[in-house]
């Protein structure tokens, strides 16, 4: 079977597998959405009322296999039912609201981490063993080993609470109305600084070290030496001869870290009260909002798959050896 077809096939099957896992997990969790919904109510619900509620909120009832069929249908129609926690919003509405924020947060910080990490990695490798390398590389490692939670908390305390330089919560100033006004965009950017930077911070190290080691490998390659012999500028050799080749493994690493960026963004979102998928998932878990949890995992898996697909494509683009038709 052709590689591309196999790859696409894989994505489809992976998605289905993820869908099955998503189906099972919340169902295995203790507690029932209605209990959570009405935990604050004074009395136990009469069974009829309970059944009525289950039905009105569209929670699956009946034997597992019927639930599964209903679930499958909902996956493909993207009708994931109501969120318990955010009723009357549907799961797709909640996710639709949260998704852009996470894409923005995780995406910006992944790109930031990737570019900063890769560029510093390139420089460290270029003067390998030099002062910059000896300081930056171990430092990068050190940073990488600090949990996102710690970084986020520290940033929150220093820049938000102590120095009051940056907003400490929200995706934008709540007094503003969302829109394309410069004021609003400015506010979004301003509010994003801390979450984006603190999330990127922990991932820079990984890219730096990967890039540095790949670069060091590349720098010994003949084509790089030839680049130098050809009398090209250091810059050109560094970026077009060494880095472009060294980038390939980093790109795979990029795909793999999308997951950890998403994981990290969960914590960051919780700490900074950022309205993305991560915080929503956290809330959904605490509230046992099954439909929402399911939708979340589905979307996150989909995001991972998309990222992987993108990386597959980027790979073909970056490495002409793979491009032969």
């Amino acid at each position: 079977m052709p590689f591309v077809l196999r790859r696409i096939g894989f994505y489809i099957v992976a998605f289905c597998a993820a869908a099955v896992i998503n189906f099972l997990i919340p169902r295995l969790m203790p507690g029932d959405p209605i209990d959570f919904m009405f935990a604050k109510a004074e009395n136990t619900l009469p069974p009829e009322a309970r059944a009525a509620l289950l039905k009105t909120f569209g929670f699956a009832v009946g034997p597992l296999h019927e639930q599964f069929l209903a679930y499958l249908r909902s996956v493909f129609t993207w009708d994931l039912g109501y969120s318990v926690k955010f009723y009357p919003l549907t799961v797709s509405q909640v996710l639709g609201y949260a998704l852009p924020w996470t894409v923005f947060l995780a995406g910006t910080s992944a790109i930031l981490a990737f570019s900063v990490g890769s560029i510093t990695g390139i420089l460290a490798a270029w003067r390998r063993g030099g002062a910059f390398d000896s300081v930056a590389s171990p430092l990068a490692l050190a940073v990488q080993a600090i949990p996102a939670v710690v970084v986020a908390l520290a940033a929150l305390f220093v820049f938000g609470v102590a120095l009051k330089w940056l907003p400490t919560g929200y995706a934008f100033d709540p007094k503003l109305d969302p829109g394309w006004s410069p004021q609003f965009i400015g506010s979004v950017a301003h509010s994003a600084i801390m979450p984006v930077v603190s999330l990127a911070f922990v991932h820079i190290g990984g890219y730096l070290v990967t890039m540095r080691n790949n670069m060091i490998g590349q720098l010994g390659e003949d084509h790089v030496v030839m680049g130098l012999a050809k009398g090209l500028s250091d810059r050109r050799v560094r970026y077009n001869y060494a880095a472009r080749n060294a980038l390939l493994p980093s790109v795979t690493a990029f795909a793999l870290t999308i997951g950890s960026v998403m994981g990290g963004s969960l914590v960051t979102e919780v700490v900074f009260n950022y309205p993305g998928l991560g915080r929503t998932l956290y809330v959904a878990i605490v509230a046992r909002d099954y439909p929402l949890i399911q939708g979340q995992l589905l979307v996150m898996t989909l995001a991972m798959l998309t990222a992987n697909l993108a990386v597959d494509l980027a790979y073909v683009f970056l490495d002409p050896r793979l491009r032969r038709a």
């Binding site: 507690g31 009405f38 109510a41 009525a52 609201y97 709540p174 046992r288």
Partner: protein, 528 residues
């Protein structure tokens, strides 16, 4: 415009749900502010009725029916008149949709009838306390609700209300603004034009919001409040934490674990348990000193001290005070011994005692209280562990009886009867989380029944004395402290706040306390 910024409860995102019958996700400002109650019973004033949409209420002679007279000239926010028919409609709505009737009103009433301005509600049995539940039914306008197909899932996006604040002027998940009702009947007393509600998700965020100085009225737990809040602006920032619901440990007398059941059904074990509770530490350490100590054997609580039966204190008071030695002694005297040598006692018959104390995950002050309880219990030789299910399962376990020991709170009412009834009335077992001790005592049931069958205060006091006697003696739950009512305010932009010097009514801004309408009406903007 006088805009007051308030923060009633933590949320992760606001969702536009203005259906007062949906307890799960309706906004906390729908009750009272958008839909005003007929009558507000001012708990701090011994349950004095403040007539709102109703002008008065009267009982029939044998206390089996109550008649509300609806106030003249009240209008819905869209200008339509508010009538007795709206009340009738609402009650009928609950009857037709039991899932909306969360207080199970219709299990206790027979009928609702309208006669001109009067609405008469007939009870199944004599009851002078049911009215407190009846006024918690928020009346909705018939003209907009009659066509609602499914009132349980209805979100009431264009709310038409009767309260002071009905107009939603701005709505985002991060903030919304609820503004004055153009047709408010009591507009003469309303000086606040809009309420602004920012979304705040947790303690840390509350603290950072607080430092911005934008919050005027809120009810939040703030650690070290003197420093973290008052200290920020000592001239304006202030707080007042009157005692609220009673916090108890429920020893489930019908637990499925035989060894634990034997122990929990032994009064001496319960007394030893109670003496192992370092209540002061729970208040001071777990609660930052905000809760009110509760060493009443019956758990009556300082707020109801006027009802106190002093005899109960002298007779049983020792069992409600922290005393590890006495607890150990009592256990030893009652035959509890450590036969297995694990450092923990077993039942006199040798069966094992060992239990989890369940507390909702993340309710830190309670979690810490339970940890203190475990510390005390461990020291007297009782094996106890902390367990933190999520709120939902915790609630479910307390209701269903599938647990050993849990920490729990019992809502206070206008009179102490309300909480004793909730927690100990045998018919409530299995129905409400508050009856989690799964205790049943026919003698007590009779007294509880009798309390509201009379409206004679002397008679009621006598009954209450007896109730306290039984509860204090029997120790069906172990009361430890009363939760504070959370209330912080700033006088920078508004004055007229309730506080210890001006204790007009319960001052909180969060739901479940209808007196907040009275508080809102008492506020005046500071004119610069």
């Amino acid at each position: 415009k006088a805009i007051l910024t308030a923060f009633p409860t933590e949320t992760t995102a606001f969702v536009a749900n203005f259906n007062p019958f949906n307890t799960s996700t309706r906004l906390s400002t729908v009750e009272d502010f958008m839909y005003e109650p007929l009558v507000i019973f001012n708990v701090l004033q011994g349950g004095k009725p403040e007539y709102r949409l109703a002008e008065s209420f009267t009982y029939n002679d044998d206390l089996t029916a109550v008649t509300f007279k609806i106030r003249d000239g009240v209008k819905w926010s869209d200008g339509q008149p508010f009538t007795a028919n709206d009340v009738l409609f609402t009650f009928n709505l609950l009857k037709a949709h039991p899932e909306l009737d969360l207080n199970a009103i219709w299990t206790q009433i027979k009928s609702v009838e309208v006669d001109g301005n009067n609405v008469t509600i007939a009870y199944n049995a004599a009851n002078s306390g049911l009215i407190y539940k009846l006024v918690q039914v928020y009346v909705v306008p018939e003209h907009t609700w009659k066509d609602v197909a499914d009132p349980a899932t209805f979100t009431n996006e264009k709310p038409v209300g009767s309260g002071p604040m009905t107009e939603i002027e701005r709505f985002t998940p991060q903030e919304y603004m609820q503004c004055r009702n153009p047709n408010y009947w009591d507009a003469a007393n309303l000086f606040v034009d809009c309420l602004r509600f920012p979304q705040i998700a947790g303690n840390d965020q509350t603290l950072t919001e607080v430092t911005k100085g934008e919050l005027d009225w809120f009810g939040a737990f703030l650690p070290d409040i003197e420093k973290t809040y008052v200290g920020l602006d000592p001239d304006h920032n202030a707080y007042w934490f009157p005692g609220g619901s009673m916090v108890v440990f429920n020893l489930n007398q019908q637990t499925k674990n035989a060894g634990n059941k034997a122990a929990f059904n032994d009064l001496n074990f319960r007394r030893a348990f109670s003496m192992a509770m370092d209540r002061q530490a729970m208040v001071d350490i777990a609660g930052y000193g905000y809760p009110t100590l509760n060493e009443y054997p019956s758990g009556l609580g300082a707020a109801f001290h006027s009802w106190n039966n002093a005899k109960v204190d002298t007779e049983y008071g020792q069992f409600s005070k922290y005393n590890l030695d006495a607890a150990k002694q009592l256990l030893a005297d009652s035959g509890y011994k450590d036969v297995t040598g694990d450092g923990f006692v077993e039942n006199p018959d040798g069966s094992k005692i060992g239990f989890d104390i369940i507390v909702p995950n993340g309710w830190t002050d309670w979690v810490n209280s339970v940890q203190l309880a475990v510390e005390g219990l461990t020291q007297v030789g009782i094996e106890a562990r902390l367990s933190t299910p999520e709120e939902g399962p915790w609630d479910n376990m307390l209701k269903s009886g599938d647990f050993d020991v849990g920490i729990n709170s019992i809502r206070g009412g206008v009179t102490p009867h309300f909480m004793f009834d909730l927690a100990l009335y045998s018919a409530n077992v299995g129905k409400t989380r508050q009856a989690a001790s799964h205790y049943s005592n026919p003698e007590l049931d009779k007294l509880l029944d009798g309390f509201y069958q009379t409206s004679d205060e002397a008679e009621q006091r006598k009954i209450m004395d007896q109730i306290q006697e039984i509860v204090g003696r029997d120790l069906p739950y172990v009361a430890v402290f009363n939760n504070p009512l959370w209330y912080e305010y700033s006088t920078k932009r508004f004055t007229g706040w309730f506080n210890a010097e001006n204790p007009v009514a319960r001052p909180v801004v969060y739901g479940g306390v209808p007196e907040r309408v009275l508080h809102l009406l008492a506020l005046r903007p500071v004119t610069p």
